[in-house]
């Protein structure tokens, strides 16, 4: 029995190796017709504040900084803040990326043996950096150095003054990857006609609608069920989005030939690959609008979530249906056309709870609820996702309601739906010790 498994594993690896050899010759995707980063600004305004952002391509950042920032995993975001208010504002860099790079630290990445050159390099980086504060009536522009994203970047600007906060969220295309990167339009594209959209203002009717959603994602043909749809996110660019970015979630690359090669290398070497791609899963007959991940120490430790925009609204806010899982490893598989897959934590409720707990620190989570709809799967009779990973669940989906106005952790409200007040995890799917 074991030897048969061993032989099949070797066959899989041989197949992968042969495919890899073919992948190596795949060239980079054609570069976007990159306009100057100062010309392709995404702009937003609120009261007296106007902001504009763009994300630099690898070539642009090398031109501006004189060193290949992308090779060290650094990506500059160009930010302009115009302040017509009568108070000064401060931009908070950890809001863009909790693991952002201070200018002097990024300069250190390129330090050599000459102290004079190192000093010049540091001064160059500091000159280019966005400098607080933004005075009343003034305009400040500069760069914040973030971790490198491919394809698309969610940019969150938190600007504070004493006792005040103004927030702006933008979605920026990163030139040099897919020109038509579909996540760019995830928050803005009109997917449903007015007649198709149902705006729920009654909690019980809304709860019933959430419970009536399909249990799980499917394959492309809709013939097989996959991971459970265990997450509902309520809010859009101004409320849900800032919460996710502040806690280190970022969009992940759609699976392409180049990304598969990078990911397999990452699996084999155990190296960290920030934008490991996710494969498409299906709901409403289409793949996810948005795939996000939060990387931890290596590729083997990351959380993934996929979101689909639903035709529902809750008090006028968009309602996203989603799936979240926690990777505890990456493995090679023949069940995915992409040959690698994330080994998920079979306790999918733990992944959901982890997200909710993380969001409690995001400042924008206002309400938490639980509804039925996933269907319970016990630890003894787990269900399988499309890549045959087993999972078990108490059958509930988490509902997270976000708001643009910051909410202190202590003011978060639990909806009296499924479970006890705050009773996120029922133990039905888990065993007691020594049982």
């Amino acid at each position: 029995m074991e030897s048969r498994h061993a032989i099949s594993s070797v066959l899989v690896v041989t197949l992968i190796a042969l495919l890899l050899a073919a992948c190596v010759s795949t060239g980079p995707l054609p570069e976007d017709e990159a306009k100057d980063y100062k010309a392709r600004l995404t702009t937003r305004s609120d009261g007296g504040l106007t902001i504009a952002t763009s994300v630099l391509s690898d070539t642009e950042s090398e031109t501006v900084y004189g060193v290949p920032l992308a090779e060290k995993g650094i990506q500059p975001v160009w930010i302009v803040v115009e302040n017509h208010d009568d108070i000064a504002y401060w931009l908070l860099s950890p809001g863009l990326d909790p693991n952002f790079f201070p200018a002097s630290e990024a300069a250190d990445a390129f330090a050599g043996d000459s102290r004079k050159n190192n000093r010049k390099l540091t001064q160059r980086f500091e000159q280019l950096a966005f400098k607080n504060p933004v005075p009343p009536g003034g305009t400040v522009s500069g760069f914040v150095l973030t971790n490198h994203d491919e394809g698309v970047k969610m940019v969150q600007l938190d600007l504070i003054a004493s006792g005040q906060l103004k927030t702006f969220s933008t979605i920026n295309t990163v030139p040099g990857f897919h020109a038509d990167y579909h996540e760019r339009s995830a928050f803005t594209q009109v997917r449903y006609t007015d007649a198709q959209i149902v705006n729920y203002t009654e909690d019980e009717a809304f709860r019933a609608a959430l419970e009536a959603l399909p249990c799980c994602v499917t394959n492309k043909k809709g013939t097989r069920n996959g991971d459970p749809l265990n997450l509902i996110v309520i809010g859009g660019v101004d409320d849900a989005f800032p919460a996710l970015v502040r806690r280190g979630w970022h969009p992940t690359e759609a699976t392409t030939a180049g990304s598969i090669k990078k990911m397999i290398n990452s699996v084999l070497s155990g190296e960290r690959y920030r934008y490991s791609p996710v494969s498409p899963l299906y709901l409403y007959g289409r793949p996810q609008e948005l795939a996000l991940q939060k990387a931890r120490d290596s590729i083997h430790q990351r959380n993934h979530l996929r979101l689909w925009m639903s035709p529902m609204q809750y008090h006028g806010k968009p309602v996203w249906v989603g799936q979240i899982s926690r990777d505890i490893g990456t493995r090679l598989t023949i069940h995915s056309p992409y040959l690698t897959t994330h080994k998920i934590d079979p306790d999918v409720d733990a992944a959901l709870v982890a997200l909710i707990e993380d969001m409690a620190y995001s400042q924008n989570l206002t309400k938490i609820g639980l509804v039925k709809g996933v269907g319970a799967a016990s630890i003894d009779e787990p269900r399988e996702n499309l890549t045959t990973d087993p999972y078990y669940t108490n059958g509930q989906r988490g509902v997270l309601i976000f708001d643009a106005t910051p909410t202190a952790m202590v003011d978060i409200e639990f909806l009296h739906w499924e479970g006890d007040e705050g009773g996120m995890v029922k133990e039905s799917a888990r065993r007691k010790i020594n049982q």
Binding site: A6, L92, D108, S298, D347, Q363, M424
Partner: protein, 419 residues
């Protein structure tokens, strides 16, 4: 024990293909011979319970114990501490009227799930045995919620500390929260610094300043720098628990090393040193903390030297002597920004006391200063009740904001965007 092994493979052509296959076959053979985990015969938490440290916030009591290698062997049947995971036993006794839910991100933003810890113990082709391991680890895991009038105990799987484990536990209820901070001994480690911290805190009560302006003047009189030369550029004001909670929520961990002891203020090395590491455990910022000999309205005052090493997260290793990056103001200002997201920061002000040191011109590196600074000390006031980011207030002390605003306005007028 871990049965996994990792190697660098560059699959590019036939030779690499053969190498990949050889490696995988070798891994299969290795993992085949690795079935070793056995459930411990008589696992229980009585020893952990006996040496637990406890604290009570209103109607809720938290007890906690850090597991050493021997505790891990006894409870898990293997020394999971050896895999870089720190298990902590906790118990929550909830006499409040709220159902409470523990927020693990607040204890350690990079915590581990029980099945993640169990995963390296798995053997290939051993489905039943693997399921047994998972069930065992799952059962030991601390499970929310804690019902009103109830108690729950279990294990949290977090990252290891050195010296003293500062445990932050945020319990969330219906529009209420119970934040705890416990200073826990780590088996086999010296807990001296934490004990000293509490002695110094007790002593500081003799000089309790009530008036805000007098307090400002006293802060400006505190030593500018450590004897090792690094500037004391931050002051924390608040209960030690609230300060620790805010820092831990943002990923700081207690971790002192040899170079910290050479920085002395009040004729002694820092009581506590916290570090925030980058992904992959690379070195990053440090906060060296001394309890100052005064209080403000009964709240302890901590003098802090904040900095980061040259090279930062890009340095190869932090095992050697750490050299302070000369731009200490950047490190100070970014710490403030980080703590604004902690929920624990209530007020912010700036005072003098460090002494301005102008930067060295780039073309004259021989006449170098160790660091450059505007000479200001940031003063951060912490509270227990978690706040929204929009609630943070700025004190009108040194006109830091106005000064920076004026500078920014001048630079703005002279600057072309992107330059």
């Amino acid at each position: 024990m871990r049965c996994a092994a990792a190697g660098y493979v560059y699959p590019n052509g036939l030779r690499q293909t053969v190498a990949v296959m050889t490696l995988v076959v070798a891994l299969l053979l290795l993992t085949g011979g690795c079935v070793s985990w056995q459930a411990p015969a008589a696992a229980n938490d009585s020893a952990l319970r006996a040496r637990a440290v406890s604290d009570t916030v209103r109607d809720v009591t938290l007890s906690a114990t850090v597991l050493g290698a021997a505790d891990s062997e006894q409870l898990f049947g293997t020394n999971i501490n050896g895999t870089g995971v720190q298990p902590i036993w906790i118990e929550v006794r909830n006499n409040s009227t709220h159902t409470l839910w523990l927020l693990r991100s607040g204890t350690d933003p990079s915590y581990y799930s029980p099945l993640e810890v169990a995963w390296p113990l798995h053997s290939k082709f051993a489905k039943k045995s693997n399921a047994r391991i998972d069930a065992y680890y799952n059962a030991l895991d601390f499970k929310s919620p804690v019902p009103p009038g109830g108690a729950r105990s279990g294990i949290l799987f977090v990252n290891p500390y050195k010296g003293t484990y500062v445990l932050n536990v945020d319990l969330l209820g219906q529009q209420s929260s119970y934040p705890f901070t416990l200073f826990l001994p780590i088996p086999g480690e010296h807990n001296v610094l934490a004990r000293e911290t509490f002695v110094r805190l007790a002593d500081s009560a003799q000089n309790n300043v009530q008036n805000l302006e007098l307090f400002r003047a006293a802060l400006e009189q505190l030593p500018c720098c450590a004897s090792g030369g690094d500037p004391a550029n931050i002051v924390f004001v608040g209960d030690i628990n609230d300060i620790a909670a805010a820092l831990i929520r943002r990923g700081y961990r207690v971790e002192a090393n040899e170079s910290d002891t050479r920085q002395r203020i009040f004729e002694r090395p820092p009581e506590l040193v916290l570090r925030k590491r980058g992904q992959g455990g690379v070195p990053a910022n440090w906060l060296r903390m001394w309890v100052a000999p005064l209080r403000y309205q009964d709240k302890p005052v901590i003098l802090v030297q904040s900095g980061r090493p040259l090279g930062g997260r890009f340095a190869v290793s932090d095992s050697g002597e750490l050299q302070l990056h000369p731009n200490v103001d950047e490190s100070r200002n970014l710490l403030i920004q980080d703590l604004m997201y902690s929920g624990g920061l209530a007020q912010l002000g700036f005072v003098g006391g460090v002494g301005a040191v102008p930067g060295t011109p780039a073309d004259n590196p021989d006449n170098d200063t160790r660091y450059h600074t505007d000479g200001l000390r940031a003063v951060l006031f912490f509270v227990t009740r978690p706040l929204a980011i929009s609630d943070i207030e700025t004190l009108d002390w040194v006109p830091f904001l106005q000064q920076r605003e004026a500078e920014a306005a001048v630079k703005n007028a002279n600057k072309q965007p992107g330059e």
